[in-house]
C-alpha cells in the first residue's frame, strides 16, 4: 500500500529536525514535511546564550543542517507557518496560512517557550527573555558597556547571560528566589563554586529575592523586590523557566500533563500522533520517575525513537541524559538526573577549579557534575548507564580513577563489574 500523505513534523528545533533526518537515515521513502513558526533555517540553541552574545561574535550562529541537506534528502520545509489545530479523524493539521495539511503520521516537536514574567511592568521595553535566535540578537544589542542588567532567575540561562553581560562591561545583578544558584539542578558545592566564579567577575547576587515590580516610563528603569529593595536596571532578563508548547495536542484531546504524555516510542494517546523533545513528559526508564527533560540529548534520543517507530525499526540505545553549560569559560557537565535526597560526594578540591560531584542513590551512581573535568564526565556517563555500585570513600579520592571506585556488592556478578569497568 502506497503511503499518500507525508509524515508531518510540527516544530523544526533540535528534535523535529532530528526526526526528519532520522527517518531518511532509516530508509523512510515517503514524504516528510517540517513546519516551523520561526522564519529561518533551523539552528542550534545552546550558542544563543553562550558564543552568540560575546563581543565580536558574528550574528550568524550555527544551523542544525545546511539548506542543501533538506533539498538533498527530499525533506520539505514550511517556515514562518504555525500549526493551529489538528483534525485527528481526518488526519489533517490546519495551518496559519489557511491551508490544511494531510498527514500519514504527525509528530509534535514544538518545544517550550520562556515562562513569562507576570509582575507589573513586565511589558516595558528592556524586559526580555531568551528562547529564540531573534531573542538572542535583541538581547545582544542591549548588553552594552555600563548597562545595568538585572537577571531574574539563577538557572542555566540566567547565569550564562550574566557571564556574557559581565564580559561586555555591564553591571550585572542576579536576583534569585532560592538561596543559591542552579538549585533545581545541582548540589550546594557546585552552586557555591559558580557563585564565587561569577563574583570574581563582578556579578552581584541577591538571594531570597522576590521581584514585585519593574518600573519606568517607557523603558525599564528599576526593579523592586518584596523587601522594598529598589535596584536600578536598564535591561531585565527573565530566566524563570519554560512552559511546554502543548496547546496543539491538548486542543485535540491528546493526553497532556505539563507536557504531552508519550510512551517509550514517542507515541501520544493517539497512535497516529507522536511527540518528541522538550514538549513531552514521559516515564524515566532508569528510575520510573515522570519527567520532562529540557536538553539536546533528550531531544535527539526521543527523535530517534519516533523515527525508528514510524519506520518500523528498533531505536538506538539512548545516551544517559546529560547537559552542559559554560560560564566565564568554565565548563559544567552534568550526566544523569540528580535527586535532592542523593548522597553527595565531592571529588577533588573546588578551589583548584577542577573537581566533580557524584550523586549516589542506594549505593549506585545516579548522576555526576563535572567542573572542568571531562574525563570524569565520560567515565561517569558510562558507569551511570551500567547502574554501577560505587564505594563512597574511593569515589571521594580524586587520585583514584572513578572507574576504580566500583564496589563489590553482593547484588551483582563479576561479569557486571567487568562490563562496567571496561
Amino acid at each position: 500500500m502506497a503511503i499518500q500523505d507525508p509524515v508531518v513534523i510540527v516544530g523544526s528545533g533540535h528534535s523535529g529536525v532530528a526526526v526528519a533526518a532520522g527517518l531518511r537515515t532509516r530508509g523512510w521513502g515517503g514524504g516528510i514535511l517540517l513546519i516551523d513558526a520561526e522564519n529561518e533555517l533551523p539552528y542550534e540553541r545552546p550558542p544563543l546564550s553562550k558564543e552568540l552574545l560575546k563581543d565580536g561574535a558574528p550574528d550568524e550562529s550555527a544551523v542544525l543542517r545546511k539548506e542543501k541537506f533538506y533539498a538533498d534528502k527530499g525533506i520539505g520545509r514550511l517556515a514562518g507557518v504555525t500549526a493551529e489545530s489538528i483534525d485527528r479523524n481526518g488526519r489533517t493539521v490546519l495551518l496559519s496560512n489557511g491551508t490544511r495539511q494531510a498527514y500519514h503520521r504527525l509528530v509534535i516537536a514544538t518545544g517550550t517557550r520562556a515562562r513569562p514574567l507576570t509582575v507589573p511592568g513586565a511589558g516595558l521595553a528592556g524586559v526580555r527573555s531568551l528562547r529564540t535566535r531573534g531573542d538572542a540578537l535583541e538581547l545582544k544589542q542591549l548588553l552594552v558597556p555600563g548597562a545595568r542588567v538585572a537577571i531574574i532567575g539563577a538557572g542555566y540561562i540566567g547565569l550564562e547571560v550574566a557571564a556574557a553581560a559581565a564580559a561586555k562591561g555591564c553591571e550585572v545583578t542576579v536576583l534569585e528566589f532560592q538561596d543559591r544558584v542552579m538549585s533545581r539542578v545541582t548540589s550546594a558545592p557546585v552552586s557555591r563554586h559558580f557563585e564565587q566564579l561569577h563574583e570574581r567577575h563582578g556579578v552581584r547576587f541577591v538571594f531570597g529575592a522576590a521581584v514585585t515590580s519593574i518600573d519606568g516610563g517607557r523603558r525599564a528603569e528599576r526593579v523592586t523586590l518584596a523587601d522594598g529593595t529598589v535596584l536600578p536596571a536598564d535591561v531585565v532578563l527573565a530566566g524563570i523557566g519554560v512552559i511546554p508548547n502543548q496547546e496543539l495536542a491538548a486542543g485535540a484531546g491528546i493526553d497532556c500533563r505539563d507536557g504531552i504524555l508519550v510512551d517509550g516510542d514517542g507515541r501520544t494517546s493517539d497512535p497516529a500522533v507522536y511527540a518528541s523533545g522538550d514538549v513531552t513528559r514521559f516515564t524515566s526508564p532508569i528510575d520510573g520517575a515522570s519527567q520532562r527533560l529540557e536538553c539536546i540529548q533528550n531531544a535527539l534520543a526521543q527523535a530517534d525513537c519516533v523515527a525508528a517507530h514510524i519506520a518500523g525499526q528498533v531505536a538506538a540505545e539512548p545516551e544517559i541524559p546529560w547537559f552542559w553549560t559554560v560560564q566565564h569559560g568554565v565548563r559544567l557537565q552534568t550526566a544523569g538526573v540528580r535527586h535532592p535526597e542523593d548522597q553527595v560526594i565531592v571529588r577533588g578540591e573546588p578551589s583548584g577549579g577542577k573537581f566533580s560531584v557524584v550523586y549516589l542513590r542506594d549505593g549506585r551512581l545516579a548522576a555526576v557534575d563535572t567542573i572542568a573535568n571531562l574525563s570524569d564526565f565520560r567515565t561517569a556517563k558510562r558507569l551511570i548507564g551500567h547502574g554501577a555500585w560505587i564505594d563512597p570513600l574511593l569515589a571521594a579520592d580524586p587520585g583514584i580513577p572513578l572507574a576504580e571506585a566500583i564496589s563489590g556488592t553482593p547484588n551483582h556478578s563479576d561479569a557486571d563489574l567487568t562490563a562496567a569497568r571496561s
Binding site: T25, P46, K66, I296, Q297, E319, R331, L374, S375, R378
Partner: protein
C-alpha cells in the same frame, strides 16, 4: 594530491573514505564549509554529535591514519580529556571529528568511526 591547484580553481570539495562500525566503506564529499563531523553526519553516517560540535559529548570520535593525524593541529585540552576515556582511544589517531576543520591536506583521507560506548 596536488598542492598547486588552489590558485586557479574554485574551492572544490574533498573526498573522504569512511569506514563504518560494521567495516563497510563509504565515499563521500566533504564541503569546505563543513567540519568533518558535519560531513559525516550529513551523509547519514551514525555520528550522534549531540553537543552540536562543541567538544562536549565525544559521540563524533573517529580514528585517522597516522600520516593524516600528524598534519593536524594539536588537540585542545577539552578534546583530549574527552578522548582519553573513550573506547579504543588511540594516542596517535583519535580525534573528535567536530574539531577537525576542512583542509585540502585531508583530501582523500580515510576516516574510521570509533566504536560506540
Amino acid at each position: 594530491m596536488s598542492n598547486t591547484s588552489m590558485s586557479n580553481t574554485a574551492i572544490s570539495n574533498n573526498t573522504l573514505t569512511v569506514v563504518d562500525r560494521e567495516g563497510a566503506t563509504h565515499d563521500l564529499e566533504w564541503e569546505p564549509d563543513q567540519s568533518m563531523m558535519e560531513a559525516l553526519r550529513d551523509n547519514d553516517l551514525p555520528v550522534l554529535a549531540s553537543c552540536g560540535g562543541t567538544a562536549s559529548c565525544a559521540t563524533c570520535h573517529v580514528f585517522l591514519e597516522q600520516e593524516v593525524f600528524d598534519t593536524l593541529e594539536e588537540r585542545s585540552e577539552d578534546e583530549l580529556e574527552l578522548l582519553v576515556e573513550a573506547k579504543g582511544y588511540r594516542e596517535c589517531g583519535s580525534r573528535l571529528s567536530c574539531q577537525v576543520g576542512f583542509s585540502r591536506d585531508l583530501n582523500g583521507a580515510t576516516v574510521t568511526l570509533a566504536p560506540e560506548e
